[in-house]
């Protein structure tokens, strides 16, 4: 997101007509090239929008971020400047280190598994199987529900005497039944699983759009050249899906790093601190421990992580996209 807006500022471009409807990433590159060639909009066109954005988003955020350098508890009228004290505390806080670890595990697991499943689903419903439109709707349906609602439902399903253990009891040996959210080793996997369940359909839709954008002629040409099914997928489909992959990986890694709702509803960060993420830790510090300034410092660290990781990933993938063209 931050990348997109930064690019708009430095390279003001009048969007081509295809950009509005077409593939979200591919044509944007084409449009920007076209835009540069044809006509550039004057930069001052941005002033009103930027002024509003600065007033509503940038200024309050900067004011909020300034609290990270104080000892404010969120209530007391007086506060003192403490420099980088809160950031130093973070280094010594085992809770923060643990939360950081869990956040990365969840973000990576969700990104990899969600996109792998999303791609498989997209390939599945892109084929000519019957009732594929019904399947598309069904697979996408979880993504339109509020995360809090799905998490609350899953909390019941994953309870010790919940539906999942009930099904396992009916089908297999009792030892397969698990304390899905109560076992510290399993809880993180369970949370990640629920996130994947909810958003795999979302990745699927983006991959599907990418698949539908691949011209039939390319497939036919490859087939004529004697490429096998796997070779066609590996050397034709996958490279042409690069823009869709970029979008999917970006969205899922950002979502994974910011994860809050599902964790909060299903485990509250527990058992112990087994599923604590940076977001739940920020919430607890600000609203339960009266450590407002410390929580702002944590939030700044989270923002920097998200920006660096997603920015780096974006550059890497875009380079691959161009190479694939």
């Amino acid at each position: 997101m931050a990348q997109g807006s930064a690019r708009e500022v430095t390279e003001p471009v009048v969007p081509g007509p295809r950009q509005a409807k077409g593939n979200p990433v591919g044509p944007a590159v084409a449009a920007s090239r076209r835009g540069r060639r044809t006509r550039r909009a004057p930069a001052w066109f941005l002033v009103p929008a930027f002024a509003l954005y600065a007033f509503v988003v940038l200024l309050p955020s900067a004011q909020g971020a300034a609290f990270a350098f104080t000892d404010w508890d969120g209530l007391n009228p007086t506060r003192h400047f403490v420099g980088l004290g809160n950031f130093r505390d973070m280094l010594e806080d085992p809770g923060a280190r643990g939360a950081l670890r869990q956040t990365f595990i969840i973000a990576v697991a969700v990104t990899v598994i969600q996109n792998a499943i999303g791609l498989l689903l997209a390939l599945g419903v892109h084929s000519r199987i019957k009732s594929r439109n019904v399947l598309r709707v069904l697979l996408f349906a979880p993504a339109v529900m509020t995360p809090v609602v799905t998490a609350a439902l899953w909390k019941y399903i994953l309870a010790p005497d919940g539906a999942l253990n009930g099904m396992i009891a009916a089908a297999g040996p009792d030892s397969w039944q698990q304390n899905w959210l109560g076992n510290p080793t399993l809880a993180l996997c369970s949370v990640a699983g629920v996130v994947v369940w909810q958003f795999a359909g979302y990745s699927m839709v983006i991959f599907l759009a990418g698949l539908q954008g691949i011209p039939r002629e390319v497939h036919e040409a490859a087939a004529v050249d004697g490429a096998s099914g796997w070779q066609r997928f590996r050397h034709v489909v996958l490279p042409l899906l690069a823009p869709a992959t970029t979008v999917n990986l970006m969205l899922s890694i950002i979502g994974g790093l910011k994860l809050f709702d599902q964790v909060w509803v299903m485990t509250g960060g527990g058992p112990g601190t087994a599923t604590e993420t940076l977001s739940t830790l920020i919430y607890k510090n600000a609203f339960q421990f009266n450590e407002y300034a410390y929580s702002v410092a944590l939030a700044i660290v989270l923002t920097v992580f998200v920006a660096v990781i997603s920015g780096g990933q974006y550059r890497l993938l875009r380079r691959r996209e161009v190479a694939a063209r």
Binding site: L75, N76, G182, N290
Partner: protein, 420 residues
């Protein structure tokens, strides 16, 4: 053009609708005085009951109320106080330990000193310390809440047991329930605040029965959690778990699920806050009766003490925009009429006892212990910061997953206690 007009109209309608939907409820009665009140959602019924009685006597006062869940309430209240937009009278917690407790709020000067009011003399000695900061009273305590084992009388009859009065009897009770295909105690340790209840039920006996000054000694630095009766309580908590006293997989069971187990009689009892009784009754089959027993921790029944504390309370905004009706309302809250209406609506006891209150017979043991001076305030109400309680929650969950022992947990609580 026409579509633009339609769009504008739709936007205007949308904004108007949103503005209407987002404003809070108003009990208008067409007077000139206005009073703004905020409370937590759990105490809505009590607040509404008192307001109804208040408005009969003060028909000219317009009242605006807003209610929200605990977490959200605490955050909103703090923001409103620091930005000067807080309600005139608002719900606050006694003692310390959470972000909207009076020890946290009073030093900032945002809440009014109520020491000069005549009703402060009637606050029972057992809860007085948690209504005061630096010797000044800052809240009207509304309810008296206990923690004990709520039990399903039908399930108790089915297993052929009776309420245990000693530790040995308690363990035998667990065995009896188990042999009859039930569990003795439902336990929902997935919900963080539930994790503390068994410790809270045991600690009055293992710590405070022999040392009433434990809190003062903690404050002075001459006592620690580690090596105290807290260790005994936590060890007993784990012993109960190993003995099979609790329902299956407590860490995966939520508070709601454990309440349902008790209501349906799958579990004979549950160590809970007495205010949960109304929730349990609402879920139980018609005609199910419930009782309460204090949780014994030793083999001498006379030593058993019970946690009993001021529950909800109200504070007066020091910078109230409508000081006169606000002050009138605060005084009204302290009358037996308001106390009883509030207690009846929330399923609690009134904090200032009076003869007119009709008690739920299930809560009789709590009254008896209160009268005998055998109640102890909830431990966190006298802790210096909310992190001690959080360390306790996390620690109990870690103990139940085998990742910590009582000594480690108590060390972490000591560490949190020493923080500012």
């Amino acid at each position: 053009m026409r579509s633009t007009h339609r769009l504008t109209a739709a936007v205007v309608a949308g904004v108007a609708l949103a503005a209407g939907a987002c404003s809070s409820g108003t009990n208008a009665s067409g007077g000139s005085e206005t009073l703004r009140i905020a409370a937590v959602a759990t105490d809505r019924a009590g607040t509404e009951a008192v307001l109804k009685a208040f408005q009969v006597k003060n028909p000219k006062v317009r009242v605006t109320t807003s209610y929200s869940d605990t977490d959200q309430y605490q955050g909103t209240l703090r923001t409103q106080l620091s930005s000067g937009t807080a309600p005139d009278v608002f719900f606050a917690w006694p003692g310390n330990g959470n972000p909207a407790a009076i020890e946290v709020l009073a030093p900032t000067g945002y809440i009014a000193d109520l020491s000069s009011r005549s009703w402060t003399a009637r606050i029972p000695a057992g809860i007085k310390p948690v209504t005061q900061v630096g010797g000044k009273t800052y809240i009207v305590p509304m309810t008296f809440v206990g923690i004990g084992a709520l039990y399903n009388e039908k399930a108790m009859d089915e297993v052929g047991a009776k309420a245990p009065t000693t530790w040995s009897e308690l363990l035998a009770f667990c065995d009896t329930a188990k042999s009859k295909g039930k569990v003795a105690f439902a336990l929902g340790n997935q919900t963080d605040w539930v994790t503390q209840l068994v410790d809270y039920a045991l600690v009055p006996t293992t710590v405070y029965a022999s040392n009433k000054d434990f809190d003062q000694q903690m404050k002075a630095g001459s006592a620690k959690f580690e090596g105290s009766g807290w260790n005994t309580a936590m060890t007993k908590y784990l012993e109960m778990n190993e003995r099979g006293c609790f329902s299956k997989d407590p860490l995966g069971t939520s508070s709601e699920a454990s309440v349902a187990q008790l209501a349906k009689g799958q579990a004979v009892a549950a160590v809970q806050v007495t205010s949960t009784l109304s929730q349990v009754k609402a879920q139980a089959p018609q005609g199910t009766e419930f009782g309460l027993f204090p949780v014994p921790a030793t083999d001498n029944a006379d030593e058993t003490h019970m946690p009993g504390a001021a529950g909800g309370a109200f504070a007066l905004n020091a910078k109230a925009k409508n000081p006169e009706p606000a002050s009138k309302f605060i005084d009204f809250l302290a009358t037996p009429e308001a106390m009883n209406a509030y207690a009846a609506a929330t399923g609690n006891l009134p904090s200032i006892p009076n003869d007119q209150f009709r008690l739920d017979p299930a809560l009789q043991p709590l009254v008896d212990y209160q009268k005998a001076g055998k109640t102890v305030p909830f431990m966190d109400q006298l802790w210096p910061n909310p992190k001690v309680q959080q360390a306790h929650f996390t620690g109990v969950q870690n103990m139940f997953s085998g990742k910590a022992d009582p000594a480690t947990v108590l060390r972490q609580m000591d560490k949190a206690y020493q923080e500012k």
